[in-house]
């Protein structure tokens, strides 16, 4: 699996961004940028410089669910994998995220192994679909 994937990690807490970034680096990914909410993330994504989004849900200004919907509504971005890593744990929310087109859902607190599994599953599914 290519380690050249370009990640955008979106979370309003710098500590959580740092944790996810370190975990991704441990998995061998070096190309990781950060944004602190959906509103900052969206223009970054529109530059076309990212292959994978890891986003929180509960953020000020533009929450993760809105970011997900904006990505799926954008002609150029709609195919981008979006992994939601969030403390939001209500069943109705998970269903809503799936309906909005989320690629994977991880509840906080999470382990390195769970993040790795979800990432690999998403990438495998995409590789299978593309192949």
């Amino acid at each position: 699996m290519s380690k050249d994937l370009r990640f955008l990690v979106v979370d309003d807490y710098s500590t959580m961004r740092r944790i996810i970034k370190n975990l991704l680096q441990d998995l061998g990914y070096a190309n990781i940028a950060e944004a602190d909410d959906g509103k900052t993330a969206l223009p970054m994504l529109q530059t076309g410089n990212y292959d994978f989004v890891v986003t929180d849900w509960n953020m000020p200004v533009m929450p993760g669910l809105d970011l997900l919907k904006a990505i799926r509504a954008d002609g150029k971005l709609k195919g981008l994998p979006v992994l939601m890593v969030t403390a939001e744990a209500k069943r109705e929310q998970i269903v809503e995220a799936v309906q909005a087109g989320v690629s994977g859902y991880v509840v906080k607190p999470f382990t390195a192994e769970v993040l790795k599994q979800k990432l690999e599953k998403i990438l495998q599914t995409r590789a299978a679909a593309a192949g």
Binding site: T15, N22, N58, D66, E88, A89, K90, R91, I94, V98
Partner: protein, 231 residues
Amino acid sequence: MNSTTLRAAAHDASQRNLERLRPLLERLTTAVAAGDAAEFEHLLDDLVHARRKDLFAELRRLTSQVRTALESFQCDARLTDLAEKEVPDARQRLQHVLKLTDDAAHQTMDLIERCGPLVDMLVTGPGKRPVGAKEAAAAVVSLRRNLSEMHLAQGYQDLTGQIIRGVITLVDEVESALSGLLRLVGDAVPAAPARTSAPNTGYGPVVPGVDHGAAVQSQQDVDALLSGLGL
């Protein structure tokens, strides 16, 4: 209550008294006309008694009004103090808690990241050659120091805990001041429409004992739900 309304209320009360006492007064006049001294004394006692009863009732009503006004004043004063000073203070205190937890988390992660290369060096050696005894000892000393500093960084919990406890006390006080105010105004204030949550922004982490309902308990629950939805 302004002075005009008070005067009108007093006038109404006098009218009612007159109507109520009229039969007694008529019997009194009759007793005087008949020269019935015993009946006259008896009716006069009744009249005085009725007057005294009215006075006590009025006094009770006034006392109750004064008490309510005093309670209301104390409640208002406390609420003003809470709203103008203590709640803004609490906001700043909680901002400080955020900063302390943020600093501590970053400091701990800095130390962990400093440990990484030391551990790598101990395992694989500096460059391609095996690690020397002196280098190993120095790396272990650095690791030990980093671990101690990580330990110290957890001191934030004591400080933030104290601040959060203070804010909990304040929330208790705001709750009781608001309840007091609600008791005083009773039904005078129309009920505001229930606040609807905006799920788009999320609910935040599930808090045991507060959040109930259909929340998942673990990543396994999430995975089961996702696979049920075809993901």
